[in-house]
Symmetry: C2
Subunit: 100 residues, 2 copies
Amino acid sequence: MFKELDPILHSQLRLAVVSLLISVKEAEFTFIKEKTGATAGNLSVQLGKLKDAGYIDVTKQFKDNYPLTLCKISKKGVEAFEEYVNALQSYMKPNTDSKD
Amino acid sequence: MFKELDPILHSQLRLAVVSLLISVKEAEFTFIKEKTGATAGNLSVQLGKLKDAGYIDVTKQFKDNYPLTLCKISKKGVEAFEEYVNALQSYMKPNTDSKD
DNA sequence: ATAGAGTAGTTTATATTATAAACCAAATTA
DNA sequence: TAATTTGGTTTATAATATAAACTACTCTAT
């Protein structure tokens, strides 16, 4: 009846990050922070979880002497997002009676 | 850019309950338990939260000597659900560039 | 050269949430 | 009348999310 919702994506911030990365392909830590309105600490933790899950690739560099964290969505991340969106349909369209 | 997701509904079980109640109008505790696959304890807690939020109405009766808990979606619940689904669109359709 | 403020994050501690286990009250069955 | 079952609730614990504090630098002004 109701599909499982990937717990990695069922988090407002992580979902926003993945959603954002799907549209922009690559983004800096601070850019994501601004767009999502997250605090740096929270974002740091959630990016770590997305990385651990293999949903994003994180590369750390230096730019103009400052540390720079770049994030990219992975194939697995795109697939998980699509699957998550698909699962949500089962909650949003309650009367799609496909024999439970 | 990303809309807030109502924390009351941003829970797999509570969302399933509300989704279910929107389609059936009224349901018994055990029916909801079966349909959602939740444990009784968890369901009891989450129904309490939905009730406290005013999203559902809970009436307790007796039927054939046994206690019977009936749940109905409220107007507020329907509205919150619609608002939640609407908010989700901002995550699912990342390129709907409506000036952040 | 060094104190103060700013950048870019990470770590840690705390609050919140979800879940499971234990419990309660009554009814049914053996 | 002693299990067992029904229909839950409460409580304890595990998992998650978030904020606050901290690290490690860099830049600027004195």
